[in-house]
Symmetry: D2
């Protein structure tokens, strides 16, 4: 029950780095979210929010930092997702620097679905094909 592998490019800009010369550690969570939104589709997420009052929220994140991406890198964010239960999506996501043999950063991110009152709701069908 895992989706196929998705690839999402992220360009590292000035805004992403810190004075140590590499990407600030919190920003990978942004990259991973952009990639997840790329899989689901921004329109689907907007519709879900506006029509049904539902949004995804990160419930748990475990991140390993193995290498630091630098300004100018185009990262390949590699994502798979499985439906762990009716109430939870578990994403495995990695950020790969160009021409490297292992991911710079890898993460397992658990998502739940909340309504506007922050109440837990079943994961809606957002068109992801699991297998």
């Amino acid at each position: 029950m895992t989706s196929r592998t998705h690839h999402f490019p992220v360009q590292v800009y000035y805004e992403d780095t810190d004075h140590s010369g590499v990407v600030y550690h919190a920003n990978y969570l942004k990259y991973f979210e952009r990639a997840r939104e790329g899989v689901i589709g921004p329109e689907a997420l907007v519709t879900l929010w506006k029509k049904r009052g539902l949004g995804f929220a990160v419930y748990k994140a475990a991140i390993d930092y193995l290498d630091g991406a630098e300004f100018g890198d185009t990262l390949d964010i590699v994502s798979t997702v499985r439906k762990d239960s009716d109430y939870r999506l578990v994403w495995h996501q990695e950020a790969w620097r160009p021409n490297t043999q292992k991911p710079a950063v890898k993460a397992e991110i658990h998502l739940v679905c909340l309504d506007r009152d922050k109440q837990l709701k079943p994961i809606p069908d957002v068109g992801i094909t699991y297998r």
Copy 2:
């Protein structure tokens, strides 16, 4: 019709800098907003939003960058505000590095007040004393 001068300290953290070693230029707008919220008071802003559906929005910003703040700096954000009309607050704000003779960054920021439908509303009384 200008308020007294307000001082607000901002500590420069890793997250604020970029790989050139200084604070990323967009972040001064964050510092200036924190200082404005310090003048008005977060509780007043929360009440305004929750009770009356009103919030301030930046309408215009003009910023001069003269020096770059570095990691570890404690900046002094110096703010005055005048009420330019019933519909506009004009803030003059400066970011000072420690032990310097001129501001690192200075800005003029125009605020308007919007309701939840993004309609312009008169500036509410938020307890600022102008003189």
Copy 3:
């Protein structure tokens, strides 16, 4: 002596918005920088920094906020640049929401070139064609 018009798409993500429902005002400066880096090319900027120790810095920014972009919008960042002197590039940049008749945000951004010691240097040739 103005360049041709450049277009750069920016997807608005969760990270970009604030609790008022629109893009946080400082983030347009990030979008404009990404668009400028798109014009010049990340590789050219990396080479400039690593080989010659040179980087661009924002010296002055004037921004008008006319409308608020929302989560899910794909913005069109429209940029032109002119060389104002040997030491200054002046960018005119606009952020357009889909299917609108006027820009949501427009800005004039002045860039200078600094070396690693923050000394002013002439604008290097980075392959922009002015006319």
Copy 4:
């Protein structure tokens, strides 16, 4: 070999929230870093970087999100740290909303020390008292 418990206040600003109305999930990593820098002291970190070319880097982070902080909240960031080996500090950090019985977010963050060439170095003495 754990330090005493440290408390660090964080004010939640507009910049921190997203359009769902709560703090964007990546921003807690920023809060936790600010709190760690509060424990160690910005001056000690600046000296370490400038004099010895050493900086701390996040190697691993595990975060649980239990509640969402809102605009206007003053969070209490509660931190303890233990030295896990000569090469690793393990921080336990929590973000508490006002008047609540459990943390909104809790995290375990592993830090290593790197030199300017990203080589692993023993954790330097930065004045933390473990017990």
